[in-house]
């Protein structure tokens, strides 16, 4: 058995046991209500069968997971008080807390863990999280042994946040389809907060779970998640104190304005795991774009600094590769495609596309996701003027709404498209899908819609996906990223300017790698 897991767990337990964590000096107070504002509408509240921010924020309050992560990408005990990885890496043993109960009073057993994992494996959109799982053994009620067909380094992360909620078998195991189960609208979990009321598209009310398995927590009495239909109203609501937390704040003008409010703290911490990247995707089947030099030339023609500083008010970080900065697997790319119009022109000439009529070489269209003008439409418009300088005539193709765009790009009916894709913690979950040859799947959005295929990248990613040694894994991803950046199926632009704005009287704000998509049991009101 590898002992590292045990030692880390024991140390983390000591730390958590001694008054939560050592980062705060204040005394936590009990009571108070956290009012969180969002424009994201939850379809329902069961993250086992529904991914996405809207369900994850309430879902992580209602449901506990085997592990949780701190702000240094280190796994911490949660429902599992300890865990260990076998020497061959093909099994993980979880030891559950003996005092953990569901909100209806029934104890949590290894049966529930096995049942939850199977439900997630069968129904969750992120198939790569648990596809290597062959089964879960339950030698006793507090021990669950997860078996894998091959070592699976992403497994620990996939057991945190909203990715593996432990759902009660005695509720969900009644034979009904878990995706449309009535309990999804009024769930029974074991997390720090209990479900009270859910009005779709309006609000979600949660209250303190008095029998929570971590003694003395949560501090808050209540969490209310309020839906706003309009981003401007939402920004005004935090500005005037109508709400006291606004996670996933993205409009850069609002970020700049709210930073000036003395009663608020505005931070970009807490989005390391989501890892949202804004980029320009190329359809590598296009007559012009199948040539690597054309794609590279477009990347050289685009001024990333201008986009970040002028279009996004300097509120966003640069993205230079498939993995977001802040992830342990981020590699500082050797080639950053700093703007160079001469080089771009030369490359296009070399590729055999000289300037012709009206000084243009050829024509391309660019799509963008509607609704997020700042990150998508404005950048696409900028590209049109910028690419004209290197002789590419770009036509903007607007989509009236998301499904229209998804149909076009998912159906490979595009030349270039602006896109936003999330890393989701481990590259196995959110990065591989964009580059693997066998994930070129027409009709599926956020698969390999670029139709990019490089056998070497495939091998590197697959190897990194089953390598347990962290240093070796980092090296493999570094190499893969270098090749991808050079092949340029995508021109990486920036990390989404996600921020959390919260009232100054909030203690222990959610700043771990999962941000507000993690249990808010340590949050208190000063």
């Amino acid at each position: 058995m590898r002992k590292t897991g045990f030692i880390a767990a024991a140390m983390a337990m000591l730390l958590t046991a001694s008054a939560a964590s050592f980062t705060q000096a204040d005394e936590q107070k009990n009571g108070g209500t956290l009012v969180l504002g969002t424009t994201q509408k939850a379809r329902h509240l069961n993250p086992a069968v529904q991914s996405g921010i809207a369900t994850a924020v309430p879902g992580t309050q209602i449901f506990a997971t085997p592990l949780r992560f701190n702000d240094k990408w280190e796994p911490q005990p949660y429902l599992a008080e300890s865990w260990s990885v076998s020497d061959d890496g093909k099994s993980i043993t979880l030891k559950l807390r003996a005092n953990a109960k569901f909100h209806d009073g029934k104890p949590i057993t290894s049966e529930d863990v096995a049942f939850s994992l199977q439900t997630v494996k069968d129904n969750h959109p992120f198939k790569s999280m648990f596809s290597p799982v062959t089964g879960v053994d339950t030698p006793d009620p507090l021990t669950a042994v997860i078996n894998f067909e091959k070592p699976h380094p992403a497994a620990l992360l996939a057991m945190s946040s909203a990715l593996l909620p432990i759902i009660p078998k005695h509720v969900y195991g009644d034979g009904q389809d878990p995706k449309s189960h009535p309990a999804n609208n009024a769930p029974v979990g074991s997390g720090p907060f209990k479900f009270v009321e859910f009005k779709p598209g309006e609000y979600i009310i949660l209250e303190k779970n008095p029998d929570y398995f971590i003694e003395g927590r949560p501090y808050l009495d209540k969490i209310i998640i309020k839906n706003y239909k309009d981003l401007t109203s939402l920004a005004l609501a935090i500005d005037t104190g109508e709400i006291n937390m606004y996670p996933f704040l993205a409009p850069t003008k609002d970020i700049a304005r709210l930073k000036k409010n003395d009663g608020l703290v505005v931070t970009d911490r807490g989005y390391e795991a989501v890892g949202p990247i804004n980029w320009l995707a190329f359809n590598t089947n296009n007559h012009y774009l199948k040539d690597k030099r054309v794609r590279q030339a477009i990347a050289y023609a685009m001024d990333r600094d201008f986009i970040i500083n002028a279009l996004l008010g300097g509120q966003s970080k640069a993205a230079t590769g498939p993995v977001v900065p802040g992830s342990p697997f981020y590699a500082d790319a050797a080639e950053k495609y700093d703007v160079d119009l001469d080089k771009a022109n030369a490359m296009l000439d070399e590729a055999g596309f000289p300037r012709g009529d009206g000084d243009m070489r050829f024509q391309l269209t660019v799509d963008y996701i509607p609704g997020s003008a700042e990150l998508q439409k404005n950048v696409a418009e900028y590209l049109k003027s910028q690419l004209k300088k290197v002789g590419i005539d770009v036509e903007l193709r607007a989509s009236p709404d998301f499904p229209t765009w998804a149909k076009r790009v998912g159906g490979h009916d595009f030349d270039m498209s602006m896109d936003i894709v999330f890393n989701w913690g481990d590259p196995v979950i959110g990065v591989h899908r964009t580059y693997l040859c066998d994930n070129i799947k027409k009709g599926v959005i956020w698969s390999n819609t670029q139709s990019y295929c490089n056998e070497e990248v495939d091998n590197l990613l697959n190897e990194a996906g089953s390598e347990l040694d962290q240093a070796k894994r980092i090296a493999l991803y570094k190499k893969a990223q270098e090749i991808i950046v050079d092949d340029a199926p995508i021109a990486f632009i920036n990390v989404l300017p996600y921020h959390t704005a919260y009232s100054k009287d909030i203690g222990n704000p959610p700043l771990t790698i999962w941000g507000a998509m993690s249990p808010l049991d340590e949050v208190y009101i000063k």
Binding site: Q50, P200, Y228, D230, S233, T240, P403, A406, I445
Partner: protein
């Protein structure tokens, strides 16, 4: 024509109209590119092929459109509006929960517009070339031409941010306790800005309409006769002129019920008002076919009911119609 025959004919018309609304909208929404599976995948941050196929199968989207239409109509006629594709809830529950707020908003705005608009119109007609009249005309034109969401945003910035008198959004404050009475007061408090925003647009039309109609009537012979008889000026305006000038206002109010519901979509979005308007807008973006159709079904019922009420009110205010003249 007897009353029963009229009602029977009206009901038949209404039924055919609703059927046409359902069929047309069903086909229209299916023409729009993308389907609920794409949206659900979008919400989830990605999906696999099998998953998309599974979602399409669950909602019957793998069948030809005419089969889907047939199934939908058969169920709808039995009162079953189906299950929302987006939310994990029956359409009937969603629509029922959202109908109240919309009716409250639209009715308040309409009443406000009709009453205040008529008053302003009468005021303006008193001295057609005076300052008041000019002001009413200018304000009316601005109110009518300004985009409704802009008016809403401006009111929010002014009365909820610069001078924080009113709340920014929502229908009531869920963080606040209190009994039934407190809740009612809270709702009315939250209602002021959205109802004002929606009302202002229509207020302009009623003011202009009343002004024009009053001016026309004030010049007619019987008014001159009334004045010659020595009837007090207030009574001339109120009793003689306004009673006749109000007829076009009633007609327009009935006709406008439909357009005011569509105006509610924008107002509800600005103020996060939990009504049918925002639900409709979100459902279209989500390609949530059953919910869209459910809302259209319900709003066509509302419009038909509003027209029927207009007819009845017309009979009240105009005795000539009552006698079948």
């Amino acid at each position: 024509m007897t009353m029963t025959l009229m009602v029977a004919r009206r009901l038949l018309h209404a039924f055919l109209l609703i059927l046409a609304v359902l069929v047309l909208n069903f086909l229209l929404i299916h023409i729009a590119p993308g389907d609920p599976a794409d949206v659900i995948a979008g919400e989830m941050g990605g999906a696999t092929e099998e998953m998309l196929a599974d979602i399409r199968k669950t909602y019957g989207l793998d069948k030809p459109v005419y089969v889907q239409l047939g199934v939908y109509l058969t169920r709808a006629l039995q009162g079953d509006l189906g299950q929302s594709f987006f939310y994990n809830a029956p359409v009937l529950d969603l629509v029922a929960g959202r109908a109240g707020p919309t009716i409250l908003l639209v009715a308040t705005a309409l009443l406000f517009a009709v009453f205040v608009g008529t008053m302003l119109g009468v005021l303006a007609s008193h001295k057609p070339k005076g300052i008041v009249s000019g002001l009413v005309t200018v304000v009316s034109v601005i109110g009518y031409s300004a985009p409704i969401f802009w008016t809403g945003m401006m009111l929010v910035i002014l009365f909820a941010w610069v001078y924080p008198i009113f709340p920014i959004a929502n229908m009531y404050d869920i963080t606040r306790g209190g009994g039934f009475f407190d809740r009612v007061v809270d709702i009315l408090y939250h209602l002021v800005l959205p109802a004002l925003t929606l009302g202002i647009v229509y207020l302009a039309q009623y003011a202009r309409l009343t002004r024009a109609s009053m001016l026309e009537i004030l010049g007619s012979d019987y008014i001159r006769t009334a004045r010659a008889k020595g009837v007090a000026e207030v009574k001339v305006y109120g009793h003689h002129a306004l009673r006749n000038a109000i007829l076009p206002v009633v007609t327009i109010a009935g006709l406008q019920f439909g357009s005011i519901i569509s105006g509610a979509v924008l107002v509800e979005t600005v103020f996060s008002w939990p009504g049918l308007g925002t639900l409709a807008f979100e459902s279209i973006l989500a390609r949530d076919y059953p919910t869209i159709l459910g809302i259209l079904f319900f709003s066509s019922l509302l419009v038909i009911a509003a027209n029927l009420i207009t007819d009845l009110v017309y009979r009240l205010v105009d005795p000539r119609i009552r006698t079948g003249g």
